[in-house]
Structures are given as structure tokens and as C-alpha cells.
Symmetry: C2
Subunit: 155 residues, 2 copies
DNA sequence: TCTAGGACCTCAAGCCACTTGAGATGCAAG
DNA sequence: CTTGCATCTCAAGTGGCTTGAGGTCCTAGA
């Protein structure tokens, strides 16, 4: 007697897509650019995937979620397969990426504060006037070109 | 006697580029997609810009810095010109954008924490082993596929 | 007046990471 | 046998530019 899940069934691309969260065209795209190896095919031409393919794609997907580029992922994947390479290479790559994430984070935080102030100013002083008079446009004008408009066009 | 800067001299695209921080091809691109009006031309075909063109482009540039898409900027620009439109439209657009910024910010913050933890873990336990054994790869594997590797391939 | 080299022109293609669409084929249920 | 979904391939589109090729214009110095 044999249990049903001893040998994992190969799945088609649709199910792999559900398992990994990558869309079907994305999976084909990853194959096309060589990020994942070409799938085995049925005689019909349909792709079939086993558990190891699912793990590989899952890894790619996770790395994408973490914001790595496809090239970085390619490199990470090759590192994860080559025992002659050093762990430090992977760590450095991640650290470099972390640096970028932090930079973007700080940038966004500054942006958020400024934007929130602009919206506040509009809420406090515009009071639903006509659009061209909105304080947002003064706030969004480049600083050096701080030429005050002569007067409100609607008031 | 006339002071030199009474009538602002029209500038060529290179100088406009320096004034606004947009690259020359970007300015041409904005013109091509109709985000800024077509420039006047000299008989030679060279574009010339006056102060108002510089203000317009400066506005676009600033909005880009704030992360608005070109389509949003197109809309903002039209709002800033049409007195029949309501200030609330501009504010809502900005608010919508702020929402997006906040979402991305939170996402990046979560990312940052996780990534930093992964790197820490690597630093603490990997100690410069061979790449495939790096804890980063275990950490980056999708959670459901948490199949432990049989053993280190190098140790 | 000639010339060198920069600034400008147009048009096309490339970048990243996909998505979308068209049109053909395979496959399983009713 | 039909219906309808899943899959296939190939091509083009997305955003926001950048890069390159190949040509013209303009200005400063000799």
C-alpha cells in the first residue's frame, strides 16, 4: 500500500503560479531570460514542474519581494549553488541592497512629511477655492522661482 | 540707460536644463509627450525658452521629485490653469499620492528590519563559510518550503 | 576667413520587470 | 461532440526615461 503523496506530482504552470504567487506569464518570462531553468515539457508542449522547480521559483519570488533586482537574484542563485564561493559575497550583496532600501526609506519619510504639510496648508487656507489658487501650487513651485502670483484669479 | 536684465533673455535647451535640473533629452521627451508645450524655434530649428517655460518645467521637475507620475502632473498642471476646477481636486490627488507614499514607506520599513535581521544572522553564525551554506539562503527561502538542507555542503 | 569642437537636431532602440493581446492548440467534463 | 478553460508562442505595450547614430548649427580662436 502506497500513500498518495510519496512522489510529488509534477504540476502545470497554472498550479505552480498559485503555489509561488508568480503570474503565469512571469514564470515564462523568467524561463525566457534564463533566471530559472527551462521546464520539462509534455508531448503537447505544456510545461511541467516538480518540487525543486517550485523551490527555485519560490526563492526568486521571495527575493523579488525583498526588492532584489533580477540580476542580483541571478547572482544570489549562483552563489547558493557554488561551494567555492564565499558566504561574504551573499552578505555583501544583501548589505548593499539594505543600504539602498534605507536610502529610499529616508527619502520617502522626508517626502511624506513635506507632502503632509502641503496638504495641511491647503486644508487650512484654501477652503475649497478655485484650483489655480490652491496653496499646493505655490508649494510645488520650485523654490528659486518663488514669484508670487499677482492675486487670486477667482477671489 | 537700460539695465541688462529687464527683459529676460530666452535660453536654449542646455541652459534650461541647468536651471531646472531636467536633462536635455528629458526636456525633449516632455515636449514630445505633450507634458510641456512645444518650444519656440529659431530658424535653425533650435529650441528657445523664456522664463514662463522655465517655471512650467520647474513645476514638473518638482512634482517628479515628490514622486507624482507624469499623468498626475499633467492633471495637476491642468488644474493649476483652470479656474472652474476646485482646489479640492488638487488636494485629493495629493492626498491619494501621500497614501501611496505612506504605504511604500511602511513596506520599506518592514523590509529594512527583516533584511537587517537576516544580515545579522549571517554575520553571527556563518563566519565566512562557503556560500551555499549561508543562512541568508535559508532566510530567503519561501516559508512554506522550509525543507532543511540535509547538511552543510562544505563543513 | 577658415576650422575645431561643442551644442543642438531627429529618429530609433534600449532599459527593467513585467503585462497584455492575438491567435492557435490541448484537454477534460457534460 | 461540444464547450470552455488552460496552455502555447510571438509581438507589442507600459513608465520614464537614457543612449546611440548620424547630421546640422554656431561660436571662438588662429
Amino acid at each position: 500500500m502506497q500513500t498518495t503523496s510519496q512522489v510529488p506530482e509534477p504540476v502545470r504552470i497554472g498550479e505552480l503560479s498559485e503555489q509561488t504567487g508568480c503570474s503565469v506569464p512571469t514564470i515564462r518570462y523568467y524561463e525566457e531570460i534564463g533566471l530559472i531553468p527551462p521546464a520539462r515539457r509534455r508531448s503537447s508542449g505544456h510545461r511541467v514542474y516538480d518540487a525543486s522547480a517550485a523551490r527555485q521559483l519560490g526563492f526568486v519570488r521571495r527575493c523579488r519581494d525583498f526588492g532584489f533586482t533580477l540580476e542580483q537574484i541571478r547572482l544570489l542563485a549562483s552563489l547558493s549553488r557554488d561551494p567555492r564561493r564565499d558566504c561574504a559575497e551573499a552578505r555583501d550583496l544583501a548589505q548593499e541592497h539594505l543600504k539602498g532600501v534605507r536610502a529610499k526609506m529616508l527619502e520617502l519619510m522626508a517626502l511624506e512629511r513635506t507632502l503632509a504639510r502641503f496638504i495641511d496648508a491647503c486644508d487650512q487656507t484654501c477652503a475649497g477655492g478655485c484650483a489655480p489658487d490652491c496653496t499646493l501650487f505655490r508649494d510645488l513651485a520650485p523654490p528659486e522661482a518663488a514669484v508670487p502670483k499677482p492675486s487670486g484669479c477667482c477671489a
